[in-house]
């Protein structure tokens, strides 16, 4: 079997990686998974819980939400999912599977 360039790089990388990091990997793995994303996620939850950044924590308590849905004077006075909401804020979706099937007929294989 011919060793492709791709599998060679992968194998070499794996050997080098385990050689260098073998000892530390297990320790790190238990501590934090996908560290980079976790830091951003934690920052989001910290802002949500920080009264200095967000005075309110529930959408229905936002004064500007109360204003826009005000039954008398609000722009969306007929409420969520009302007539004006349906016009501006709701939509329809389109079946795009035909274009996909055309691709598959050309012999292109996808994961699904």
């Amino acid at each position: 079997m011919k060793l492709s360039r791709r599998s060679f790089i992968k194998a070499a990388g794996a050997v080098a990686g385990y050689a260098v990091l073998g000892v530390n990997i297990a320790k790190e793995a238990a501590a934090e998974v996908m560290d980079f994303v976790a830091r951003r996620q934690n920052s989001v939850y910290a802002a949500d819980a920080n009264k200095k950044i967000y005075k309110y924590r529930k959408s229905q308590d936002n004064p500007m939400i109360v204003k826009i849905y005000d039954p008398k004077t609000g722009f969306l006075h007929d409420g969520p999912c009302g007539h004006e909401s349906h016009h501006l804020l709701h939509t329809h979706y389109y079946d795009r599977s035909k274009k996909l099937n055309a691709l598959k007929e050309k012999g292109i294989e996808l994961n699904l």
Binding site: G17, I25, I53, N62, I65, H90, Y93, L103, N111, L112
Partner: protein
């Protein structure tokens, strides 16, 4: 721009979004390592020859999430669409009223381009920078995240109440905030379209609200308003040019879409000293937001925000502690039974990544899904890890380090599942 190449191409009004290549491979830079393939749920990015050079086989198969781009160790994947040039011209034009619409996750990534630690919150500085760049109204997509909760939460309650009646909309209800997921559902699971919430995403709502309600409140001529969606995402560029988003009465509801990296570039190009900016608030009316809105940036956030509303509506009582930690999702599929007084159990699921979404879709298709409400995010972890965010410096530090990082990542991922 911030380590990623761009074609300065702004798709014209009326373009068929399915023919535009938002994510592209520079074949001269591709080393055939195949990292991109592992991050692609649909399989749109494939090896095209014996050297393993990759290409996106057709824009129809690509969900534009850009996970291949952010995980390419060689910087060989680039963006085919950028509104930066057009936006710069609009900002200079005195006859155009330019409106900013940044997504929640942008404020948790933007600081990284100016040397801040990963995840640093820079919302106040972001608003100040947008004002300095010349945006006329500093409106915020977080406001319409709150609107989305009102609309999508009410829709869910209506679906639950109407079960058993003749023209009831089906359960579970899927969220529709993530444009990669929406295209995925339309392409691979069109039979589940009735399960998708009919709500537009927050940005799909802010566009038309800016040109109608915002125009009215600020006494501005709606046709002068140029709306700029600022996203942690590449797929949002696709969503912005979708033909059906034109309910505000003018050409497009969303005139331009840029991402976090492009905003950082514009701030630098304008010579603004980002780190010394004061914290500023957005303009009211379409700017004020809540903690429920900001957590849209995380996987599980839309779910938690919706439950903060649904709990109070269904139970008729106040939710004392808004933290519903059980739905917070880092990766994979997360399911929960939420007990609501005076109602019963609300069954929910959150999926992060389209391969996980497919598992839940198969369950719904087979009629075996026990859930009321399912949230899907295309990018693992949610928008904070979107394809338009600043890159993880580990991935491109060097070939050696990037290979080690890849192995580490995979090893950790395996470890946690076991």
């Amino acid at each position: 721009m911030e380590g990623v190449e761009y074609s300065l191409y702004a798709p014209p009004v009326g373009v068929d979004s399915d023919t535009v290549q938002f994510v592209r491979v520079d074949e001269a830079k591709c080393e055939g390592c195949g990292a991109c393939e592992e991050y692609c749920a649909s399989g749109a990015i494939q090896s095209i020859n014996d050297d393993g050079i990759h290409r996106i086989v057709d824009p129809v198969a690509c969900m534009n999430c850009g996970q291949c781009l952010t995980n390419c160790p060689y910087g060989a994947i680039y963006e085919g669409v950028s509104f930066v040039d057009e936006l710069a011209a609009k900002l200079k034009d005195p006859d155009t009223v330019v409106v900013s619409m940044p997504a929640p996750a942008v404020r948790y990534g933007l600081g990284e381009c100016f040397g801040a630690a990963t995840g640093t919150y820079v919302g106040g500085k972001m608003h100040a920078a947008l004002r300095k760049l010349g945006f006329d109204y500093i409106w915020d997509n977080e406001f319409t995240a709150d609107v989305t909760i009102m609309e999508e939460g009410t829709e869910l309650l209506n679906r639950v109440k109407s079960q058993g009646s003749k023209d009831a909309m089906p359960l579970p209800q899927f969220t529709s905030c993530c444009p990669g997921w929406v295209k995925f559902a339309e392409t691979f699971y069109p039979d589940l379209i009735p399960n998708l919430s009919t709500c537009k995403s927050p940005i799909g709502m802010l566009g038309p609200l800016a040109k109608t309600y915002g125009a009215k409140e600020t006494k501005t001529d709606g046709k002068k308003i140029y709306t700029v969606s600022i996203m942690p995402c590449i797929a949002k560029k696709y969503e912005g040019v979708r033909g059906e988003l034109d309910d505000g009465g003018f050409d497009r509801d969303i005139d331009a879409t840029i991402n976090t990296r492009e905003l950082a570039y514009m701030i630098k190009a304008a010579g603004i000293d980002f780190n010394s900016l004061p914290d500023e608030d957005p303009d009211p009316v379409l700017g004020e937001s809540t903690g429920a809105a900001t957590i849209f940036g995380n996987s599980g956030g839309v779910m938690e925000a919706a439950l903060r509303l649904a709990y109070e509506v269904l139970s008729g009582t106040k939710l004392a502690n808004p933290d519903i930690k059980v739905v917070r999702t880092h990766e994979g599929i997360n399911t929960a039974d939420v007990e609501v007084p005076n109602f019963g159990t609300v069954k929910v699921a959150v999926a992060s990544g389209l391969d996980n979404a497919a598992k839940l879709c198969e369950e719904v298709r087979a009629g075996k899904s026990p859930y009321h409400f399912i949230e899907i995010m295309t990018c693992p972890g949610g928008c904070v890890n979107g394809g338009g965010q600043p890159l993880d410096p580990e991935i491109r530090a060097s070939l050696f380090r990037s290979t080690v990082a890849q192995i580490n990542k995979r090893f950790r991922a395996r470890k946690i599942k076991a």
